[in-house]
């Protein structure tokens, strides 16, 4: 069965060019870049070349790039570092809709001697800037706000938020894992001090990430041990994945126009056709300010897992909330924070496209969804067979 993969916010295929870039280091060229023999040493420039590509993609300089093992590690490192270098400050500002890699850590810290303010969002997932401004205190050690939301694609005004924080001398971290490679980005002028990205969201493998740390930012390493990454992240370098991530960053920069042109149009078509052909659906999130590849759509009166599994029968891959929250009965914290009613939150599906997505796939998905939603609604006690909600019976 052909797979129609519209779950690229969960993870992406490894680009063939990326695999090619990795292969030498998965085969003959397995040396340790820290070694004193040239068999190992000759892979050190490979790491530096990749660092250059990562820097270019996000508008940073190479020495501001630290390779990590994933987006989660980048996020954890940034947050722990900001707290470690500023031990007297005990307050963190974040949002209600962060990825668990930020949110769960903040919740953990809130149980361990920190105060955490989760700035709310409105029904479109937009950050409440007034609440944000008011949340900042003299005790605030860190602002951590995601650049773009993984479930809805909604883009936060991170640069504006960073400006406000910087005026008060508060360091800013942004989880840009979903934004990097989908929208243009210039870390240098953004005002943020730290920025996380993850390889597997941009056609590099799972298990490699980057933490950008602005030059001059005080930093405390998270993984402590050897001297790798200029003493900022210990552990033998994952040379194959670093080489792959470098290539992926290079490609992502090239593909930005396709992402924001063709892919965006495909996403828009998907949404338009679905809303045209299926009653009682709703697009979640601020459609004005969104990643070009993400559509979060609620199908009222039916439940998400059932939709996913019926789509699965046709080889269609998507997700309900984020991959992490799928399988739980609670609607995702993002939907809850946006105040999406349960009737719709339970039936929200995220479709996330990539540069590999094609128009025929979109047409196929829309056709199948019409059937699936009809079938499921026919089974729903909240739906009458004459295509009306039967709410409350």
């Amino acid at each position: 069965m052909n797979v129609v993969y519209l779950d690229n916010n969960a993870t992406t295929r490894i680009a063939p060019e990326v695999l090619d870039a990795m292969m030498p280091y998965l085969t003959g060229d397995y040396g340790n870049p820290s070694s004193m023999h040239s068999f190992g040493g000759r892979v050190a420039p490979v790491v530096e070349e990749a660092r250059g590509h990562a820097a270019r993609l996000i508008g940073a300089s190479p020495d501001e790039i630290i390779f990590t093992s994933c987006g989660t590690e980048s996020d954890n490192t940034a947050i722990r570092s900001a707290l470690a270098v500023n031990p007297d400050k005990r307050h963190i500002v974040t949002s209600r809709v962060e990825h668990p890699a930020v949110r769960e850590l903040c919740l953990f810290l809130a149980r361990n001697d920190y105060r955490v303010t989760e700035v709310p969002v409105d029904s479109k997932g937009r950050l409440d800037m007034d609440a944000y401004r008011e949340s900042l205190t003299d005790d605030t050690a860190l602002v951590t706000l995601m650049w773009a939301n993984n479930e809805t694609g909604v883009i936060f005004p991170v640069e504006e938020a960073a400006g406000i924080a910087r005026e008060r001398g508060i360091p800013v971290h942004t989880d840009a894992v979903q934004a990097v490679g989908k929208v243009p980005m210039d870390a240098d002028s953004s005002g943020v001090d730290m920025l996380s990205l993850s390889g597997h969201k941009l056609h590099a493998p799972k298990g490699i990430g980057v933490l950008y740390v602005r030059k001059g930012t005080r930093f405390a390493p998270f993984l402590i041990g050897g001297h790798q990454e200029s003493e900022r992240r210990a552990g033998t370098e994952n040379v194959p994945y670093i080489a792959g991530l470098g290539k992926a960053c290079e490609l992502a920069l090239e593909h930005l126009p396709d992402m924001n042109g063709r892919v965006r149009r495909l996403r828009d078509k998907l949404e338009q056709e679905i809303t045209a052909r299926i009653p009682h659906v709703k697009i979640n999130g601020d459609t004005e300010n969104r990643l070009p590849n993400t559509a979060n759509i609620s199908f009222e009166y039916v439940e998400g897992e059932s939709i996913l599994l019926m789509m699965n029968e046709y080889g269609i891959c998507a997700s309900s909330g984020s991959a992490c929250t799928s399988g739980s009965l609670q609607p995702s914290h993002v939907m809850l924070a946006m105040g999406v009613p349960f009737t719709m939150a339970h039936g929200s599906i995220r479709f996330s496209l990539s540069i590999y997505s094609e128009e025929a796939e979109i047409d196929f998905v829309v056709d199948k969804l019409v059937d699936i939603i009809t079938t499921l609604r026919a089974m729903s006690p909240f739906w009458n067979n004459d295509s009306r909600p039967a709410a409350g019976r």
Binding site: H346, P381, P389, A391
Partner: protein, 189 residues
Amino acid sequence: MWDYTDKVRDHFLHPRNVGDLENPDGMAEVGSMACGDALRFTFKLDETGRIGDARFKTFGCASAIASASALTEMVKGLTVEEAEKITNRDIAAYLGGLPDAKMHCSVMGRQALEAAIANYRGAPAETAALVCECFNVTGREIEQAVSENNLTTVEEVTNFTKAGGGCGTCHEIIRGIIDRVRSENEVTE
């Protein structure tokens, strides 16, 4: 999907006995949209006093649908007393097992069965599916309030029943109830 049995998969993709029975001998509604799953279950006895037909409608995940489908199959041909002995574990076993995290689906089936039998024995039909979780208000209560008082807005419903006065996630459903009751009233008027 990969940790569902083939039997679950089959009952999810090809559910048996979907629908509502007219004039059922027993009926019940359990769960709620807020919980993430809800089940309406109806049955009818045949001339020999055994359960001749049973139907369900489910809002929920694959295993909720499969559990309800299984339940309708399992009860057919049983006396009410026999059916009463079915436990949630029996439902899960019938399906070749359910993932731990999904056992509550079989529990919901068992609850619906129990409530429908109680209804058969004279208890008021349990259409007690909660609409407003915040204030513990069922659909029937809202229906009654709307129809008896001719309510037309969610705000009014909140005033009469408290439903909708909390987080607000039930507003859509309340609006749906209002629409339905009013259209029914129009017909009868």
